[in-house]
């Protein structure tokens, strides 16, 4: 194991740990699952340290890995479990989103969207990514992302209207 690899990996880890942790916590129902996803994502990154992209792209690359880890999580794939991280992650679950009845109606409408719509909208709203960045995470073209995002927003707005939530802010969201 050469030292260059280790130094480079540690730098990437420092720079992206909180973002990957956030990504996992926002998408996993339990702290244990989030801890698994973070551990597994970085274990993969370590194994592929020679291939890590440079600059901000490494974050997008890691989101892509984390997304696949999540998708595979239910398969019961061999996983890393780090006890200390469970504890570390647990308090991120301590406070739940505020906002009462309207927010829970939004949450329900959001939950009922197809997985792919939810993922696109989340990458915009939670990770703050634009279409070009999402294209890197999903490994597809920017144009494809824009089209899918447009459709996802339309479906979300429709679901919100159906749920009795004023949807104009969602329908008219900024294009990225």
């Amino acid at each position: 194991m050469d030292d260059d690899r280790r130094i480079r990996f540690e730098a990437v880890y420092e720079q992206t740990y909180e973002q990957i942790l956030g990504y996992a916590v926002r998408r996993c129902d339990s702290p244990e699952d989030a801890a698994d996803v973070v551990s597994e994502t970085f274990a993969i990154a370590w194994r592929r340290a020679d291939a890590l992209p440079r600059g901000d792209e490494v974050r997008l690359w890691l989101y892509g890995v984390a997304r696949n880890v999540l998708a595979n999580h239910r398969r019961g794939a061999a996983r890393w479990r780090l006890v200390a991280l469970d504890v570390d992650v647990a308090d991120a679950y301590a406070h739940s989103p505020e906002g009462g009845v309207e927010l829970s109606a939004i949450a329900r409408a959001f939950k009922e969207l197809p997985d792919s719509d939810r993922e696109l909208l989340s990458l915009v709203a939670w990770e703050g990514l634009d279409a070009g960045q999402i294209a890197k995470v999903l490994d597809c073209s920017r144009n494809a992302v824009r089209i899918r995002l447009y459709r996802a927003r339309k479906r979300f707005a429709k679901a919100l209207t159906g749920a009795g939530v004023c949807a104009h802010r969602f329908a008219a969201v900024e294009t990225v």
Binding site: E18, E40, R47, W61, R75, D88, L103, F110, D115
Partner: protein, 310 residues
């Protein structure tokens, strides 16, 4: 999309400083303690899903050579007051120091875990070892590694952890074949390991092992993207049984969901099989969906052809 933002359980800025916390440091130490080529993962990377196939462990070759002349000292060694032993043996495990590594050799893969812990503790290691049933191809692999309170290693420290069969590639049950664990001499903190052992009849495998790989139950049989009826015929021809896992592919064939409530739904002959995994001895689990999508949802593209081989 403010309202959507508010749905987030946590914002990244609320996690500021975590990277330098105890959990993050422990994870870093844990991840980098393992030689990058040693731990197999079933998770494809973005864009080009491929499984890492590396099975052989470098440390294993060293261990095999080093063990040849080793001497085992029993628990009595501890009682002379000279501090932690450099080797220890009980009915379940032998642990000894060889160069830069601790080598643990499992004498009884079905022993009480406490006996393994006792063996490691005798030489000053805080290792909790569990042996879990896995498919034949994963025997001797570490299927889980966890670490706590580990200090990040200094340059030159030996902190690798690996599992192996020794001698390499041997079959358990044959004379002199044993499961082994190697632990670097500089590893600190508490370590939790799950090592794959052969399953007993009726035990579910605790590893995700593709059943079409060389040495597995359906070695060389193409199952992906074929109708259930054809795959079942092949399963029965081989004297095996099949169980189903019903999945719900994403529309674009990249990823899927699984509804636990729908697992006992009837599966149609014309449904699509996406993958076969080893479930327990003599039983494969077929991942199937009613809907057929353009890409294999497990891989976001075709299943890697090298995963189907004899």
């Amino acid at each position: 999309m403010n309202e959507l933002t508010d749905l987030a359980r946590v914002r990244d800025d609320e996690l500021a400083g975590r990277a330098s916390g105890a959990g993050a440091r422990a994870l870093l130490a844990s991840v980098t303690a393992v030689d990058p080529d040693e731990i197999p993962h079933a998770v494809p990377a973005p864009g080009n899903p491929r499984r890492r196939r590396t099975r052989r462990l470098l440390a294993g070759a060293l261990a095999t050579a080093a063990l040849a002349g080793a001497v085992v000292l029993g628990p009595s060694f501890l009682e002379d007051g000279s501090g932690p032993a450099t080797s220890y043996a009980n009915s379940a495990i032998e642990v000894r120091r060889e160069g830069d590594q601790w080598i643990a050799r499992i004498r009884d893969p079905l022993a009480d875990h406490a006996l393994y812990t006792e063996g490691f503790r005798a030489v000053g290691l805080d290792v909790e070892l569990t042996l879990v049933p896995v498919a034949p191809g994963s025997v001797g692999r570490l299927v889980k590694v966890g670490m706590r309170d580990a200090k990040p290693p200094a340059p030159g420290d030996v902190v690798g952890v690996s599992g192996d069969l020794e001698p390499a590639g041997c079959t358990l049950g044959h004379e002199d074949c044993a499961l082994t664990i190697q632990v670097g001499k500089d590893l600190t903190g508490k370590v939790q390991l799950s090592l794959g052992r052969p399953a007993r009849p009726g035990e579910h495998y605790q590893s995700f092992t593709v059943a079409t790989r060389k040495g597995e139950m359906l070695a060389g049989v193409r199952v992906d993207e074929r109708p259930v009826r054809e795959v079942l015929a092949e399963v029965h021809r081989r004297g095996l049984k099949a169980v189903f896992e019903i999945i719900e592919p994403n529309a674009d064939g990249n990823g899927y969901g699984m509804n636990p409530q729908r697992q006992s739904d009837p599966v149609g002959d014309d449904w699509t099989v996406w993958e076969a995994v080893a479930d327990q001895p003599g039983v494969v689990r077929l991942l199937v969906s009613e809907k057929r999508v353009a890409n294999n949802p497990l891989y976001g593209g075709p299943k890697p052809p090298e995963d189907t081989s004899e």
